[in-house]
């Protein structure tokens, strides 16, 4: 089972602070993005979301596994 943290508008879209993927786990960030858009089509209407793996911004080729801390990072707006 892969656990994904959701923040800001991502939390509103999924209605949860964490979502889980139980089968056919994506092997990299690109796969996760495709999974998200398929399961939560509202992500397509947002400005570009980033994915963080172990608290670092990750590019599409970054591998992911169930032991990683994975988070959806919608466009930030601090300050």
């Amino acid at each position: 089972m892969m656990k994904i943290r959701c923040f800001g508008i991502a939390k509103d879209i999924t209605s949860q602070a964490f979502i889980t993927i139980d089968e056919q786990l994506p092997s990299n960030v690109e796969g996760l993005k495709l999974w998200l858009e398929k399961n939560y089509p509202q992500f397509k209407s947002l400005n570009k979301c980033m994915i963080a793996v172990n608290q670092e911004y990750a590019d599409d080729n970054t591998p992911i596994s169930t032991s990683d801390e994975i988070a959806i990072i919608p466009p930030v707006s601090g300050g």
Binding site: R5, F7, S45, P74, V76, S77, G79
Partner: protein
């Protein structure tokens, strides 16, 4: 997080300008620059009632630490204090304080601006703006 002349905090209560100022005072420095970001009562022609900040706190602290390290590298900053609010923040309240001390003033100005620009670009903090007729996540949609 306080380490090696860098003080980074994400706090649920009112921020203190004096705390940040006191932290960066240094006997080798001739200039301290502070940026104080406050909550204004309007945005894009609409009345704002308050903000709510959500943070991915562990990553936000990590990312702010990197930005502070970049200031030491780029601008030879001596000490930095960066405090950001989380949770409910009212109009006129302080959302963020950045304090930087430097041997000469010019690099303190540059570093302070660098921190706020980078913070807005890459630190995982999200602002929900509450208007008189609803609320929305800032920057989320085109």
């Amino acid at each position: 997080m306080v380490d090696n002349n860098i003080d980074i905090q994400i706090l649920g209560d009112n921020l203190s300008i004096d705390t940040c100022y006191q932290y960066v005072i240094d006997e080798t420095c001739g200039g301290i620059v502070l940026f104080v970001g406050t909550v204004r009562n309007h945005n894009k022609g609409k009345d704002v009632t308050h903000l709510d900040f959500e943070t991915y706190e562990s990553m936000a602290i990590k990312e702010l630490s990197k930005i502070a390290d970049e200031c030491v590298e780029k601008f030879q900053s001596k000490k930095l204090s960066i405090h950001h609010r989380k949770g409910h923040v009212g109009i006129k309240d302080i959302a963020v304080i950045i304090a930087v001390s430097s041997i000469h003033r010019k690099k303190a100005f540059l570093a302070c601006e660098y921190v706020i620009d980078q913070l807005k670009e890459r630190v995982p903090i999200w602002k929900k703006e509450f208007l008189t007729d609803g609320s929305y996540w800032v920057n989320a949609r085109p």
